[in-house]
Amino acid sequence: MKRLTRYPSYNVMNEQHEWDEHTRKILNSRLQTSGNHSFLTVVEAEMLRSWCSLLVDDHRPEIIQFVLDHIDQSLSSGEESQRKPGIPPAQVLVRKGLEALEKACQSIHTELFFHLEEEQQKQLMEEVSQGEAVPLEVWRHVPQQVFFQKLLTMSIEAYYSHPEVWSEIGFGGPAYPRGYARMEQLDPWEAKEEQRKA
């Protein structure tokens, strides 16, 4: 059975009146996603919606929409800190990767990725993560593992920056200007454990 949060009634956003304005604005904007993408096409976004949901094991639409918005924004900015020689810039890498994914799905299943059964999707993702996806012809110009890693990194960045996810893992969140006063005990606003699997 799928594990659940140990802090079901905790909501880190309940404390936002204690935060500085800049942080509060940033976190509120994550709860209001736009879905207006400047880099991703509609089909690309739909493929990523399925792909990223499985990467982070969560299908809640508003959270995955924030993941997609973040990916779109990152790709639009063109910033990527580093890449290996011979690896295309992130924009090209993701676009070509999604193209290959679509072709591979059509060739094997005659379906789009987001129409596949979840098990089929996971199987294909596992193969890409190991650089073993076929047909070879389709994936020839895409470094599969780099493609997989790029999407995983961007998805993690967004997913584990979403306040709802913070609440579930019991992260106490922003603490300025008040700070954390108690080191050994919990501060009154921190998540308290309500259930825990033995």
């Binding site: 940033i26 993560s129 992260f171 922003p174 200007p177 080191m183």
Partner: protein, 522 residues
């Protein structure tokens, strides 16, 4: 752009406003020199531009693309390069250690690496000065190295649960530990408050409890008359026919400008410093400036910085408090099969870094989907230790220019890095020690995350102009009025966090420049 010294020749132009550039700007402008500091990144205001958020604050890192190569290509950006006034000091953990005497003579002592042209004693007075200037907090007695305390300010109290577990594990195993020396205030100092344990040191300190040159040295430099220009990327060191530097060319909002200066100091860190020297090649210096030896960009180093996460049957809450609050240097100088050594820190972490880290814990098999999700549900139950491991210099680890260019038309830096055999043995040794400490504290080690931190070398100092780029004061052997002063002049990496040493070296260089300039010798 409004400029104070447009069309003028100033005494000093400093490229980069980080740990070294900040110290130099303050020292030299307070000595009455006319100083201009050019910083590639923005000028941020901690209370309004920083946020308690990992994702938003990734922008503190240098995000322009570098090409990374070698057997162990580096992850660049937030964990090792700053961009903006204050540079890396804006988002470092504040760990403030001195190098040990043994760091300056690896070759003589252990037959590996190289010897520095200076010893601990040359830096000691500058360590004293820097630590006092920013009120470093630390223990009354520090058991390792040549400096045994007391630190200017008392050690931090209380410490996080993660640090307490580290202490417990160490004590069970007979390993000595201390509350870490930190450039983070334990009591008020000047106009700054003590730390409130917000925990976001690497996202930029909002209360100003953590030192950075953004809030300490740069304001003092400006007070003394220095001009600091943000968002100005230096693309070229300009040279005169007489073989002396005449200033620099920089780009601001797409337009190129020149700043003429009697003295040019490059403090742009271990990637951008060699990149700039190499890109400034001209007919007289076809292989790049200060590169007669061919050592510009060579012997580039990082620290191994692997993390071990262990799960406990109670909450630890890695997000609370200053990330690093407990340290051991019992393994600083190993003997036997592994040469040199490492420092260990109890090291807190927020969710994004935690998730990114453990996703990479299984080599070429990324951790994702339900496995990642389940581990993250127990984020609060994990403790973590991080190593700072010495990486030996190798001429094969380099910073070079590649064909691809950035938006300013400047070739991108290519950073090539591979671990050597000793580096790998050292990591294994440290990982095993970290697991042991966490187990002794009652935890079950679950994830080992390969990581690196801190960049050093690439313009190493030395007495021999044929095998080094600068002398011990950062003065290039080839061009008397061109200095390099940052971690790129390190000869070896040491086994502890380098910022204190970078700043002590900068302070020493500043003294040298002041003395020589007053005698008109530069």
């Amino acid at each position: 752009m409004k400029r104070k010294y447009e069309g003028e020749t100033v005494d000093v132009v400093i490229v980069g406003a980080g740990a070294a550039g900040g110290v130099l700007a303050k020292e030299l402008s307070e000595a009455g020199m006319r100083v201009v500091v050019l910083e590639a990144g923005p000028w941020r205001d901690p209370q309004h531009d920083f946020a308690s958020d990992e994702l938003a604050m990734q922008q503190l890192g240098w995000q322009d693309t570098r090409i990374v190569d070698g057997a162990d290509p580096l992850q660049m950006g937030h964990n090792n390069c700053g961009k903006g006034v204050g540079g890396g000091t804006v988002h470092f953990t504040g760990v403030f250690l001195r190098f040990h005497e043994t760091d300056f003579n690896a070759k003589s002592l252990d037959g590996v690496g190289e010897d520095w042209p200076i010893g601990y004693a040359d830096l000691a007075p500058y360590y004293d000065k820097v630590e006092k200037e920013i009120a470093v907090s630390g223990p009354k007695h520090y058991p390792w190295g040549s400096f045994h305390g007391p630190y200017p300010y008392p050690e931090r109290d209380p410490i996080s649960l993660n640090a307490q577990l580290f202490a417990k594990g160490c004590e069970k195993l007979g390993i000595r530990w201390v509350v870490s020396p930190l450039a983070i205030l334990s009591a008020p100092f000047e106009d700054r408050p003590p730390c409130i344990n917000r925990g976001f040191c690497t996202q930029g300190c909002m209360p100003n409890a953590k030192f950075s040159t953004l809030i300490v040295h740069i304001p003092k430099a400006i007070q003394a008359g220095a001009e600091v220009l943000p968002d100005c990327m230096v693309t070229q060191v300009n040279m005169g026919k007489d073989g002396r530097a005449t200033g620099v060319t920089f780009v601001h909002n797409g337009t190129a400008y020149e700043q003429r200066a009697k003295l040019v100091i490059i403090s742009a860190y271990a990637v951008e410093t060699p990149r700039l020297l190499l890109n400034s090649a001209n007919a007289q210096f076809p292989n790049g400036l200060a590169n007669r030896s061919g050592w510009v960009g060579k012997a580039f180093m990082t620290h191994s910085s692997n993390d071990v996460y262990a799960r406990f049957d109670h909450d630890v809450r890695l997000y609370k408090g200053t990330p690093v609050l407990a340290t051991t240097q019992d393994f600083y100088h190993l003997s036997g099969e592994v040469a040199r050594g490492y420092t260990l820190h109890a090291h807190g972490v927020r969710p994004l870094s935690f998730a990114k880290g453990i996703s990479k814990s299984d080599g070429n098999r990324p951790v994702w989907g339900s496995k990642l999700h389940e581990a993250m549900l127990d984020y609060n139950a994990y403790a973590r230790i991080t190593m700072v491991g010495e990486v030996l210099p190798s001429p094969d680890n380099t910073v070079t220019l590649c064909d691809e260019k950035d938006l300013n038309g400047m070739p991108r830096a290519k950073v090539t890095f591979s671990y050597g055999d000793n580096d790998k043995l050292l990591i294994d040794h440290a990982v095993s020690t970290m697991k042991g400490i966490l187990q002794a504290a009652g935890g079950k080690p679950e994830f080992v995350v390969p990581d690196t931190a801190h960049l050093m070398g690439g313009c190493r100092m030395g007495s021999d102009p044929d095998s080094s780029v600068v002398n011990s004061y950062g003065q290039t052997h080839d061009i008397p009025n061109l200095f390099v002063c940052d971690a790129s002049i390190f000869v070896t990496s040491g086994a502890g966090n380098p910022t204190n040493t970078v700043m002590a070296l900068a302070s020493r260089t500043a003294d040298y420049i002041k003395k020589r300039a007053s005698r008109m010798e530069l």
